[in-house]
């Protein structure tokens, strides 16, 4: 990416039928999936039949009855894929999973409000809004413009059903002293329907083979937006 992001968050989301109580830190340690010494310092928010959430070092895991979410902000991101492939590929292979998301979100700074406007107007020209267009920008103090835009690609060769969505917004991280952009890429795979989901072999295969390709594509899409800032 041509601009170094200040945050780079990668998450893997598996949607299906899950038992949150399984996903305890000591369970991951007992299976040898996560390092026991690091897990000793885990910040356990909740372990419950409805929801489990804990974080340690490089990883946050949140599980409810329908969703497993693993998040990291630290490279190497491939650790996330290894975790999911081992967890579901070796130990929970019969867990019904019918949707998968490989998501990446960044925030990067731009030098001023004018640059933020250039990006916003390139993605959503004010002229398209007719007579309202000239009134949108306003003043520096009362400034308008693009607040959120989501673009979707649905025709993808690597899946039967799904999409890649990119959401672009001004980032609140840099306010009030500066300006920045947040980009959120959702690489979504629909593997089956909730009623027809049998096991998670397809999801594991996808994570195993597509994870780094997906992150590279996300970085490439993000770079297209960054290019507008130049």
């Amino acid at each position: 990416m041509r601009i170094s992001p200040d945050t780079d968050t990668v998450s893997l989301v598996l949607v299906g039928d899950l038992n949150p109580r399984i996903f305890r830190p000591d369970w991951f340690a007992a299976q040898g999936i996560l390092e026991p010494h690091a897990l000793a310092a885990a910040d356990i928010e909740i372990v419950h039949s409805e929801v489990t959430k804990f974080s340690f070092d490089w990883l946050t895991i949140k599980v409810d009855k329908k969703r497993f979410v693993a998040v990291t902000e630290e490279p190497p991101h491939v650790r996330l894929a290894d975790l999911v492939v081992r967890t579901f590929g070796e130990f929970l292979i019969h867990t019904p999973i019918y949707m998968l998301g490989i998501n990446r979100a960044i925030q990067f700074p731009v030098k001023d409000l004018s640059t933020l406007d250039i990006i916003g107007k390139a993605l959503a020209p004010h002229d398209a809004w007719g007579e309202w267009g000239p009134q949108i920008s306003g003043t520096t103090e009362k400034h308008g413009g693009l607040r959120s835009l989501t673009m979707e690609q649905a025709n993808l060769d690597d899946r039967k059903k799904g999409f890649v969505r990119a959401k672009v917004e001004p980032s609140p991280r840099y306010r009030p002293v500066g300006y920045g952009v947040s980009i959120d890429i959702n690489d979504h795979y629909e593997l089956s329907t909730p009623d027809n989901a049998v096991g998670c072999a397809d999801a594991v295969d996808l994570v195993s083979t597509h994870f780094e390709t997906s992150l590279s594509r996300s970085a490439w899409i993000m770079d297209q937006v960054m290019a507008l800032a130049k």
């Binding site: 200040d6 780079d8 902000e73 630290e74 490279p75």
Partner: protein, 206 residues
């Protein structure tokens, strides 16, 4: 989830520097000396502004720090919990340093010596598929928890980059993380066997 008296008491009883900072921010919020826009953290860990939380009542403010937390109304407990969430989220977000990766290699260990190990490296950042470099690393660079994984053939990721503090200062970092690759399953072996047969049958011998 409703706040409980225990939630509030824990804030007053904070001991670690971060907890203390959070508690101070929380009390500042309650007293009006700190004004924050409430933020939440979504699944991707991003902060985003949400609504302005309800202001706890004067009764609630005067009860903070006392033992009779149970005197708070449910509405005040919920309001205080809302402020507490905002304070914790903001404090965590502000105190955290963010790693920025500049270059990443995948390596596999070829030799291990008394104080070093040697590995062949594939440039992941450069999207290479083959090992084009070789490097020698001190054993001390391997995290204690990864020492058991260090053996010939072991696969690891080596990343170099920056750790950027909230104040903007940067510290150069180098990290070696050994991968915990999955075991081969019967399905994997069957797929590999099938693929090998396809490749074999596609070769035309002359």
């Amino acid at each position: 989830m409703d706040a409980t008296a225990t939630d509030i008491y824990l804030e007053d009883d904070a001991t670690s520097p971060q907890e203390q900072k959070t508690a101070e921010t929380f009390i500042g919020l309650l007293k009006g000396s700190v004004i924050l826009e409430e933020h939440s953290v979504d699944e991707e860990g991003d902060n985003f502004p949400t609504h302005t939380p309800r202001i706890p009542s004067v009764t609630a403010l005067s009860n903070v720090g006392r033992d009779d937390h149970y005197a708070l109304s449910d509405a005040d407990r919920r309001a205080i919990c809302s402020f507490r969430t905002a304070a914790v989220s903001q404090t965590k977000a502000r105190q955290k340093s963010f790693p920025q990766s500049l270059q990443e290699w995948e390596g596999y260990v070829t030799d291990i010596f008394d104080a070093t190990f040697v590995a062949r490296l594939v440039d992941i950042t450069g999207r290479s598929n083959v090992a084009t470099e070789e490097a020698e690393f001190p054993l001390d660079d391997v995290a204690d928890g990864d020492r058991a994984l260090l053996k010939p053939g072991a696969v690891f990721r080596w990343t170099i980059g920056y750790l950027k503090s909230p104040s903007g200062t940067k510290k150069r970092t180098s990290q070696i993380v050994f991968r915990q690759l999955p075991q081969w399953t019967g399905r994997d072996i069957a797929l590999a066997d099938k693929k090998a047969r396809e490749i074999f049958s596609s070769i035309s011998w002359e």
